[in-house]
């Protein structure tokens, strides 16, 4: 019998090791797995490389993980957003490394990593500073840059509902990086509001098939980053 449900975020994250590459879903606060990130802070793994579109806001979620000094490097498309002070401070003081990646290239690198494709060519960023040092090649008279697929040891993902086989559906634009990060990671951990029995999610609407998902943990009423920031919450 397959049952991927684990009892708590702490149990789901118990084996995250120092130096791990961790993908974190979310675009702004939509899809940011705050409870899993807070459990990772409690767990204590350090020297992490985080792959995420943004770097969080205020002092909760991803920003709190950065503030706790657990992250050596971020791979990111847009590290500054409204109410973000933690990343700018770390960056200015040279305490964190940034690999800046165009958003679509970041998404495709993650997808490729999960799809068994070590590298691909994209037209994005040709002729810009982000092309420096990258191999380029012409196809049909147009120049493209070679980009590498990205793989992670773990992915922390926020979904809406999952069954115990790991099939996941998402909420609106919170889907963003979740399905591809599930593909691109060795161990994909998904927090959802509801865990249901196999058969209770219509196979026609499954977004992330269970083969990509390793652990499912219920967080019935997930916090929203903007509400925590507005309330002045600082984690831990």
């Amino acid at each position: 019998m397959i049952n991927k449900q684990v009892s708590s975020p702490a149990e789901a994250l118990a084996d995250v090791f120092d130096g791990a590459v961790v993908m974190v879903s979310g675009f702004g606060e939509a899809g940011s797995p705050i409870e899993l990130i807070h459990a990772l802070i409690d767990q204590g793994a350090k020297d992490l490389t985080v792959v995420s579109n943004n770097c969080g806001s205020g002092e909760v979620g991803l920003a709190a993980l950065l503030k706790a000094g657990r992250v050596r490097k971020v791979v990111c498309s847009f590290p500054r957003t409204a109410n973000s002070t933690v990343f700018p401070d770390l960056y200015h003081s040279g305490k964190i490394e940034l690999e800046l990646v165009p958003q679509g290239t970041l998404a495709e690198r993650i997808r490729a990593g999960g799809a068994g494709i070590p590298a691909f060519f994209t037209p994005a960023a040709v002729g810009t500073p982000l092309a420096e040092g990258k191999e380029s090649r012409e196809f049909d008279g147009k120049t493209y840059l070679m980009e590498r697929g990205l793989k992670a040891d773990f992915a922390l993902i926020k979904g809406k509902t999952a069954d115990t086989h790991g099939n996941v559906i998402f909420n609106k634009t919170a889907r963003n990086f979740g399905p591809i990060m599930a593909m691109g990671s060795s161990t994909a951990i998904v927090q959802v509001e509801d865990v249901v029995e196999p058969g209770q999610i219509d196979p026609e609407i499954v977004v992330s098939p269970g083969i990509f998902v390793d652990r499912v943990v219920q967080v019935a009423r997930p916090a929203h980053e903007s509400e925590l920031v507005a309330a002045g919450v600082s984690y831990p």
Binding site: S77, L100, Q103, G104, I110, A124, G127, K172, I180
Partner: protein, 220 residues
Amino acid sequence: MTQQVEQIGRTREEMAKRLAQDIPNGSYVNLGIGIPELVARFVPDGRTLIYHTENGLLGMGPSPEAGEGDPELINAGKRRVTANPGAAFFHHADSFSMIRGGHIDLCVLGAMQISQYGDLANWSTGAPDAIPAVGGAMDLCAGVKSVYVITQHTTKHGEPKLVEKCTYPLTGVGVITRVYTDLAVIDVTPDGFKLIELSPGVDFDYVQQRTGAQLILNDA
């Protein structure tokens, strides 16, 4: 010389309204952050446009009332929006397949600088203390069929944004085909910037003085 107090040229809303007239019915359109967002308010009656927001929604509708909406239904500017009937959600790799794969008809972006060759700079001044952040602008430039810019003609300090050659780090090379400013509508042609239309009350010399490259008169 008397101090100039009245508005010269178009307001932000008038710029957006002018651009909206040029979007064909049925287009799939991606709007950038800032003045580009205003374009959605001014689509002429009888036209249906499908708005794409790169964080994963086709069929984006207007923002809900303050305090309403879902924090997980947002646009690329991270503002709450709505989903129109017929909308679809999708993940980021699909969203950028739409962009890079040439499926989006038009993208409207803001700008720091546009060169007479159609180069765009809009993500960084290159200042050493700036936090670099690029988002999806480079992918949009690389893949969308037409990329328009909507921007004030000059910076807050009066420096031209339309220039011979961009001095800021580029977002895309030779991708901008048309620029809508408070002063004029200008095409980027193989010969350089071609004036298509002056805003009401603005003359050619006024625009040329505020443009960092030669303007070509439209002889059509």
